[in-house]
Amino acid sequence: MSELSGFYALWQRELKIYLRERSRIISSAINPILWLFVFGAGLGSEVSVGEVNYQAFIYPGIVVMTVIFSSIFYGAYVVWDKKLDFLKEVLVAPIGRSTAFLGKVMGGATDGVIQATIMLVLAPIFGVKAGLSFALVYLFLFVLVVGLVSVGLIIGSMMESPEGFGLLSSFVTFPLFFLSGALFPLTNLPGWLSAFTELNPVTYGVDAIRGLMLGGYTFGLLPDFVILASFALATIALGTLAFRRMKL
């Protein structure tokens, strides 16, 4: 029983800390909004993708960008937990390492979904109406966030210093973002770029969420879901392993 209540406790802890740090919430929302208004409006005055205005086209991509950055960065808190020795309190408790990992994942996923919600309430400004399919948008965001948070936690479990984490994580976040089709359509890409985008799991999240909001999928909703779910399951498995091997 303590596995379940332990999972719940760790999740609650992450959520409380997140809600107590308003500066973290606000600062993670500022960058994406700048992208939308400056980059989106700037290019949007000249460019449109098919029928869709460029600003509206990148809107789903920027929502995904928000969760990429907040989810991967969330792994830094493991490094802090190590430095603060709070991690010892968790690891000496009679719960499994996998429970410790899943509690963390759930906490990070909740943070990410809240962060995405802040962006989603702006949808009408950009002329995006998704109606009932918003429930599906949340499902896809959640699965994507679970995978990304796990990646962040894996990096965090390997790093000793926050500086090291920052360095390594930026090598992960930027390619995930730029190679996801968040800023450009995936049709008619040069071969090498197309190959990279197809290897990037985030691509399928952008495809699904953009499709749900604006219509028109590159891969289709079901393939997107299967790939994202496999990504999340694989990173959870790897993350559990990483937490088992983690040294104090």
Binding site: R13, E21, K83, L84, F86, V92
Partner: protein, 321 residues
């Protein structure tokens, strides 16, 4: 026996941190692991708490094997780490609630138990303050309360007063003493403070360079030296004259100081002073654990490089986020 070590050994690469220690601790006992920094005290504690795997040997805690039944061992122990390990963005109450959930304390007794332990360390009134607003001593008390929350059989205290000011240390000692009086619990304390071990512990194991040097009650350890300590400041001591005396157990010269271990020193001081020569200063005191340490290791008790102290840790912690 609530804790039994069986040739418990830990190596880190070439370094032997703990050299196969075997001893046991009985129920209700306050047991001290005393030694300089780097002696292997924390390593021993971390092995007993299943945070480190022994290289060889094992131990039983509350009847459970630390290698084969780590989960049961964890449920049986409460751990207070050397470094602050509470979350400073949560309140004192929230830290305890988190702990209660992690240890599966049943819902029905949870609130009652949290109040009990907070009362024990006098923090009930501050329960709703964020831990980052606590002083170092309060934080240590909170973590002691947390270690007790799930009714463990054994409480591990790793350097409970490291880096605290003398007044706060005194308070922590009083809390530990009242704990011993009120709760039926065994306690293992690691410390490099002689006075702390002397005051709190029923039995003390002196460890040095990963080796168990001697284990006994503080009284016996001191009695075994065979007398009181007479320290004399003297330029030209006539050592020959005192070395032959039956009641002088040991003579040691350190610079201009002469240390004599003397049986029933009060009765013999007059004779020693008249034999040894012109004395600038004389001091007579009962033996301390410092003398015991020197007796068994042949060297003075010295700090060997500070492990990150409590305050340094707390300082880095406050830079967080």
């Amino acid at each position: 026996m609530i804790v039994e070590l069986q040739s418990l050994r830990k190596e880190f690469g070439d370094l032997t941190a703990v050299e196969g220690a075997s001893f046991s601790i009985s129920e209700g006992e306050v047991f001290g692991l005393l030694g300089p920094n780097g002696a292997g005290k924390t390593t021993t504690l971390h092995m007993l708490a299943t945070l480190l795997r022994p290289t060889s040997g094992t131990a039983r805690v509350n009847g459970y094997d630390i290698v084969r039944e780590p989960a049961k061992v964890r449920k049986s122990i409460g751990m207070v780490f050397q470094e602050p390990s509470s979350d400073d963005l949560l309140t004192g109450y929230e830290n305890l609630k988190l702990h209660a959930l992690l240890y599966g304390v049943p819902r029905g007794v949870r609130e009652k138990r949290i109040k009990e332990v907070l009362d024990l360390v006098d923090l009930w009134d501050r329960r709703n303050d964020l831990v980052k607003h606590y002083s170092g001593g309060m934080r240590r008390r909170l973590e002691i309360a947390r270690g007790l929350l799930h009714n463990p059989k054994v409480l591990f205290l790793d350097e409970p007063t490291l880096g605290l000011d003398p007044q706060t240390r005194e308070h922590i000692w009083q809390y530990i003493e009242s704990l011993v009086a009120e709760q039926r619990i065994s306690i293992i304390i690691t410390t490099h403070y002689m006075d702390e071990a002397d005051r709190l512990c029923d039995r003390i194991a002196i460890v040095d360079h990963g080796r168990l040097v001697v284990l006994d009650t503080p009284e016996n350890l001191k009695r075994q030296l065979g007398g009181d300590i007479v320290r004399l400041e003297i330029k030209e001591p006539n050592l020959k004259a005192v070395e032959g005396l039956s009641y002088v157990k040991k003579v040691e010269v350190k610079g201009t100081s002469v240390f004599l271990t003397v049986t029933d020193a009060g009765a013999h001081i007059q004779e020693i002073l008249s034999l040894i020569g012109k004395v600038d200063m004389a001091e007579l005191r009962p033996p301390s654990l410092d003398d015991v340490f020197m007796h068994y290791t042949g060297r003075e008790y010295k700090e060997e490089g500070e492990e990150g102290g409590f305050w340094e840790r707390a300082m880095t912690a406050s830079e967080r986020r």
